[in-house]
Symmetry: C2
Subunit: 298 residues, 2 copies
């Protein structure tokens, strides 16, 4: 397939790389020239660099994938006279893999649909490691037949491809899951810290929680207490993994979506404030399980 790819950051670059490995031809754009050059050098003859989103839109491609930092960039790339939508033919399908608020995802998809373009929202989880290994989870919203049509494309970049329902529902699933993840991680951090400060061995306590009703991914797969699990950020100084500032971004999206829906999220809201505190203290680059450092006696 001839695929446009806009947004070659830490996630977009390895995703584009996996599409190229699967034999697709890519037409790429990014503001950062070094990212563009790297991909051109890695796959000579298979990649063409274009100079603006509207050029990607006008190139007569089968599909355009976007992977952008936030809703403001998605709006800027898709909307307006120089945007993708104003310059694309109805033969080109659109997939936005950025993590943004469901409301914006639905607004952009509605404009695309009104002019006859297929558009899917397909945010991912799995981090840069998953993007490189091609093991991302894609949460996809939009028309189910179109989801099925592009499943091969998702499979070239990911492992777990989930249809979430109508337009915007990929973003809804991600925001709901990640809000619960942020809450569970802080809850696990509090419970582990409380138990240890009251005299329990961390591994014994984790073992009990993991076979009891407190069991959660944050405890049994990604425990924030150092030394409980091997090969998790907690056991290598909270490097790598999923950054605290990315969790803060997702909690902000949850808060925004909840506000629009008049949906109370007291724990989600406090979780956002706790990650905000952690970020303000200069810890935004640490893995999100480092939040336990707010609660642990040293």
């Amino acid at each position: 397939m001839k695929i446009g790819f806009i947004g070659l950051g830490n996630m977009g670059s390895p995703m584009a790389n996996n599409l190229l490995k699967a034999g697709h031809e890519l037409f790429i754009f990014d503001l950062v020239q070094a990212s563009v050059k790297k991909l051109l050098d890695q796959h000579p003859g298979k990649v063409r660099a274009l100079s603006a989103p509207k050029e990607v839109a006008a190139a007569g491609l089968d599909l355009i994938i976007t992977m952008l930092p936030a809703a403001v960039h998605v709006k800027s790339v898709y909307l307006g006279p120089d945007g993708v939508l104003a310059n694309v033919s109805t033969q080109t399908a659109l997939i936005d893999s950025s993590t943004i608020d469901p409301q914006t995802a639905r607004e952009v998809a509605a404009i695309a649909a009104a002019q006859g373009n297929v558009m899917l929202d397909a945010p991912v989880s799995g981090g840069t490691g998953g993007a490189e290994a091609g093991t991302l989870t894609f949460m996809v919203g939009g028309d189910e037949a179109e989801f099925t049509r592009y499943k091969n494309i998702f499979n070239a970049m990911g492992k777990n491809i989930v249809y979430c329902g109508g337009s915007g529902n990929g973003q809804v699933a991600k925001v709901a899951n990640n809000m619960l993840l942020g809450i569970s991680m802080i809850g696990t951090a509090e419970a582990m810290s409380l138990g240890v400060s009251l005299g329990m061995e961390p591994k014994v306590l984790a073992g009990i929680i993991n076979t009891s009703s407190g069991r959660c991914w944050s405890s049994d797969t990604y425990n924030p207490f150092p030394g409980v699990l091997e090969n998790v950020p907690a056991s290598r100084g909270y490097t790598g993994g999923f950054g605290s500032d990315l969790m803060l971004k997702d909690l902000g999206l949850a808060a925004e979506a909840a506000k629009l829906a008049k949906q109370p999220i007291p724990l989600g809201s406090l979780a956002q404030q706790i990650y905000q505190t952690f970020s303000l203290q200069g810890n935004g680059g640490l893995d999100f399980s480092a939040i336990i450092n707010l609660f642990r006696k040293k």
Copy 2:
């Protein structure tokens, strides 16, 4: 074995019943005569009713088990001139299965140890259903050799018997696990409500969460959204299960323990206030997953 059993409430009665079925001889006390009579009638010749804790203490038994509502009752039964400790021989071991704060558990156990009595703290989880079926989880704190010596006794009443470390650690494990459980349940309720109010099918959303990083016992085993799982309180009007007021009690114990340890528990503390709100509104008797009713559009 000759076993004293003090406290024949909703949990104590079926636990005593299982000890009798296992062939032990029981010496029982409860303030509620109907509870005493019921057990006498069910097991003629195997049960003797005594008229006060001090009589149970003075009966020359191998073991006394207590199952009481709160720390105030534990202190009243064990301490003072008419209490168990003042009237028991050092040949009688003591097991308190009440759920109380770790501090009180350690104080009472220290007094017992000082006069030469073995004492274990052994709070349970699994509710009245687990007590009846003999499938309770026991979280046991105290001397490990004594834990091993009485493992058969625990096995007569439960299925999962976990040694948690020194005196009081059974209570610590329970309080830490149940605080995380309360946080996870509210977090799941918020995430499910948010996702559904933004347009997702509850079962689809739960399926995504349960295979993603938001996965937790409250979502995959006890989902609070009606219709997602069968055979959980959410699918029968939040009857049965684990009462909201019992969760509130455990969150109160966590708050108390955290205060003594100067341990910050921001989400645990807010979870306590949320269950307090729910209880104040008259919902304390509903299963604790009914907390989702605070967050759901009807």
